[in-house]
Amino acid sequence: MTTSAHNTYSNIKSNLQVFLVSVATITVAFSILGLFLVIFVNLNSFLTTWSEKVQLVVYLEDEITDGQKQSLEQLISANSDVESMTFISKDAAWANFKNTFSSTKSDFIDDLKYNPLPSSYNLKFKPSSDRFVRIREFADLFKRRQGVESVEYGETWLGAFEKFMLFIRIFLLAVGGLLGLGLILIISNTIKLSFYARQEEIELMLLIGATPNFVRVPFMIEGMFQGLLGGIFALALIKSLQLYIKVQFQGSLQSIARGMEFQFISQPLILGLLASALFIGWVGSFIAIQKFLSSGNTK
């Protein structure tokens, strides 16, 4: 292990410039990816904050019986996702309505001889990441119930939101995948150069009884080290950018939505990013070395 570390060190030293260029490239690529991630995370939390207001409203038919009402209430109280339920009677709804439009008092409302509004249950849901799916499923349950006139939960808006987030996810995956592929090529190229710089020595190693792993490990460490360094630099870069934006724009952000904050990517995402940096370094160097070992072992 100590010899491997030492060999890695002398590999890097003998090829420092190439190593640094490679690390810089990895840093840039991961910064791009990280930036997208930060945007995604913030967009997600922003839209989630907004969508907190989403409620499921179950409108009831005027002819609904007490028994039907009871069974609906049972259904609601059986669902653990529901945070609160408010019953709004026809009269309350009407009063509410009139209240809201009192400033634009129109004769039309006063002229109405009967109350056109239905009574309803207003349901609030506990926050969770798949809340929308659950709301939709729950809403579908009501549609088929007797005594229910209609349900409403801003389905068009929710659908668009979900589609948008799905699109962003796919986009991120594609960008991440492409960047990853590019980085693997770059790293494998750097390792190849590092290899050629010491070709004579490596061939001699294999010739006088080194195991393939003995030759491989220092280069694998070098590749992973490159990836890790690039990943760390990229994270530092994004973090400082995020701090800057936070200081500059926190005020205006607060005015858009109270309690909103410009966020950094979460800890699991950070770890994931670093792990993929390591993995990319591992794959890149593995490819480079495998080519060499399989062609150069018997010569």
Binding site: T3, E200, L206, I208, G209, T211, P212, F214, S294, T298
Partner: protein
């Protein structure tokens, strides 16, 4: 113990490099492998070291069929054998001590052992006073001694030497030969390729002669 049975090898040229070679070398034996230039001596040694593959026959080293060793396991064979290359193959960027120690490093020996074994090997070839020199600062004979020290430092059971005295003066050649004979006394099997007939006549070792890829009686 080295055994060759009907070994044949062709590089694809007009005539094969080796034809139907059968002979064996006993454990602890010293043999001269000789023949004119282009006879196939290097090819034969390379086959024993598996840096070249053979087309026909079988080769056993310590009973191990070396044609069957997969590439990733080749190091097991190479660790049994010390090879002294015709062109020395010393690393220019390493000094004498580091060149010899290199053979210990690649088999993963610890630092203390590397220092001890390297020192011992340099002492055996009489080069301790040059341990800090670099290859290009050494004479041909001295470089050859470094190469021999490196081949011996891992205490191999077999030494294959490809014309180790090819470019050296007669007196120095005999000194080099004595190093191999010293190893033989310690129980190492030695195959010594040379076309120096005077050297061969000055000793009583068994002689294997090949001409145009075929064994001939000496």
């Amino acid at each position: 113990m080295i055994q060759l049975f009907n070994v044949g090898k062709s590089y694809g040229g007009v005539a094969p490099a080796l034809i139907d070679i059968t002979f064996s070398v006993k454990k602890g034996e010293f043999i001269f492998l000789t023949g004119p230039s282009g006879a196939g001596k290097t090819t034969l040694l390379k086959i024993l070291y598996r840096t070249e593959k053979y087309d026909q026959g079988q080769v056993l080293v310590h009973g191990m069929n070396i044609g069957k060793i997969p590439d990733r396991k080749l190091y097991t064979l190479r660790r049994e054998i010390g090879f002294v290359f015709q062109d020395y193959k010393l690393l220019a960027k390493k000094n004498v001590f580091e060149n010899v120690a290199f053979a210990q490093e690649v088999i993963g020996a610890n630092k203390k052992r590397i220092r001890f074994k390297t020192w011992e090997a340099l002492k055996n070839v009489g080069l301790t006073h040059k341990k800090d020199s670099y290859p290009q600062q050494l004479s041909g004979g001295e470089q050859q001694r470094v190469a021999i020290a490196r081949a011996l430092v891992n205490s191999p059971k077999i030494i294959l030497a490809d014309e180790p005295t090819g470019n050296l003066d007669p007196e120095i050649s005999i000194e080099i030969l004595k190093l191999f004979e010293h190893a033989k006394k310690a129980g190492v099997t030695v195959v010594f390729a040379t076309h120096d007939q005077d050297m061969i006549r000055s000793r009583n070792h068994r002689v294997v002669v090949i001409k145009r890829g075929q064994l001939v009686n000496p």
